[in-house]
Symmetry: C2
Subunit: 72 residues, 2 copies
DNA sequence: CACAACAATGACATATTTGTCAGTATTTGT
DNA sequence: ACAAATACTGACAAATATGTCATTGTTGTG
């Protein structure tokens, strides 16, 4: 089902974003202060992130969207 | 500004999706019948597409998200 | 255990995407 | 130019992402 595929995708994105954040040693709150993105629900795969939100985060983490999805 | 960067990103995504669709020789309506995605507003860069919507389209076009953004 | 820092979750408000459909504009082929 | 196909746009409803704040749960450290 498409729903299941989406859940898997969102889960992968969630884990990847969490890993990027932790690599920088930031708390969710600190990341919010830097990017204005509330990450909690994204990191728990509750939200179907918009492309501009993901783009903003990738910019902050110095990774291209292509790179982000390559090692997903 | 972030707004401008988003507009550029959405414009690139729009053009890329249109090119993929036209490569398959499909009208917007035909693509909708295949994917259940209304593409008109996305191809005119009016919408900030969600990741699962883009993923669905990439699946249909047989291109990975990483590939999609690589040649953006 | 107790405390502190952090993450997860619920509730609510706001903004935006998407579906849907109708109407208009544009393109394409003859 | 004409007709048909296609694309674009506006309006409305429904679903959902995100902001915001409060509360609860978790984790690590003394």
């Amino acid at each position: 089902m498409a729903q299941v595929r989406d859940e898997i995708l969102l889960q992968k994105i969630a884990l990847k974003l969490k890993a990027l954040r932790e690599k920088k040693g930031l708390s969710q709150e600190q990341l919010y202060n830097e990017t204005d993105v509330h990450i909690a629900r994204i990191e728990t795969a509750k939200n179907n992130i918009r492309i501009s939100t993901l783009s903003k985060l990738c910019d902050y983490f110095d990774i291209s969207l292509s790179e982000f999805f390559k090692k997903l």
